[in-house]
Amino acid sequence: MKCKVQFLLLLLFGVAVHSALAQSSQDPRMKMTTETAPDGHVLFKVENLSAQPITAMVLQVTHSYPTNPGHSGQSLRYFDSLINSDTERDLLRYQTHTFTLPKISGPNVAGVRSDAALRAAIFADGSSYGDPQWVNRLMLGRKAASQSLEEAVKILQAAKASGASRDVLTKQAEDAKSVKAKAARVPEEKMAAGQVYETIAWSLKSDATAGSPSTSLSVTARIDELISRFGRQQQRLLNSKPSPVATSPVGLAAN
């Protein structure tokens, strides 16, 4: 497998490539492989070998630039069936999730070195894989989502009680998103909280501009729909393991 990965990457980039598969701490609950897609993207695949579903993962791809020595950027890729409950489902036994790694090219980023690693995963029983700091970051994202859902419901209830207009409520959601982004200590908090408030703003905008007028909800009806939707998502988060409510921000990584 190691040789295969090296060969594929050598074909892709034409330079020396070092796979660190042998150094990785292989967890018997997961099988990780890489392959190169026809379009040249490297695919990082995680197969769940455990009876426990995987509910969250984070992949970190660190970029080091020869054109800017000492500096590194990073691409973070998330999977979370609780935060992204609209689009992602628990990764069951023998199911595979595929992360696509970025392709970076051009005169100013040439020679970029990328290191990809699955930093953490959370299983449905509350157990985890990976660096505890990264597990904590995933949990901080869930806590931010839970808190934002709770606060968003309060905003929606107040807007309904006061008869707030679509524009006023949209601005409240955008302001709340901005406040959360500024307060976020890690991207996971910013993105998870932002998704909640962006959902409010997008729903109101969609009602105002899209589709048949007879199927667009009134502000009050949309508020009721969002409160119901957020309530269901909040319940799933609160029922999950580990509990996002109990998460404490200890040992945060700087990036």
Binding site: V5, L9, L12, F13, V15, A16, S19, A20, L21, Q23, S24, M32, T34, H41, V42, F44, H63, P66, T67, S72, G73, Q74, S75, L76, Y78, D80, D86, T87, T100, L101, P102, K103, I104, S105, G106, P107, N108, V109, A110, G111, R113, S114, D115, A116, P187, E188, M191, G194, Q195, E198, W202, S203, A210, G211, S212, S214, T215, A221, R229, N255
Partner: protein, 145 residues
């Protein structure tokens, strides 16, 4: 598991101000009911690109039913869409992510009033946002400040 890979080296300079990242994504495919698949790409004017790969979002098909007033609601499609959200860190690096806007399947219910209370339907659109998928942090695109 850690995988390391590298791309070909080629270095040149670029003038300041020409490197602000922009959304250079393309549509890979457009499916029924407003579903889009994009190749999400960040680019600057100097020719650097960050190709994040293929991402998709669902739109929705609605209408095609009789409402509570006995009016036929014409069938319609709502497309998925996206926003590129970059942030300048002020040191030659940028953060960015995408908001992918779409819809879950519409939900339908009965009428509680109206002339077609017994036979008409109500339709509720379910807008959704995918944001917690990826985040690029401190990405260098070669600007000289």
């Amino acid at each position: 598991m850690l995988v390391y890979f590298a791309s070909e080296a080629r270095i040149s300079s670029v003038s300041a101000g020409k490197c602000d990242p922009r959304d250079a994504s393309s549509v890979i495919a457009r499916f029924d009911c407003g579903r889009f698949e994009w190749e999400l790409v960040v680019a600057d004017e100097a020719g650097d690109t960050y190709d994040e790969g293929a991402y998709n979002q669902s739109g929705m098909c609605g209408g095609g039913y009789t409402d509570c007033s006995c009016d036929l609601v014409d069938a319609y499609t709502l497309d998925a869409s996206k926003d590129f959200v970059p942030t300048d860190n002020g040191d030659g690096t940028w953060n960015w992510y995408w908001d992918l806007y779409g819809y879950n399947q519409a939900t339908y219910g009965g009428c509680t009033s109206g002339t077609c209370e017994g036979t008409g339907e109500t339709e509720t659109q379910n807008p959704t946002v995918a944001m917690y998928q990826g985040f690029d942090q401190n990405e260098y695109i070669g600007c000289t400040y």
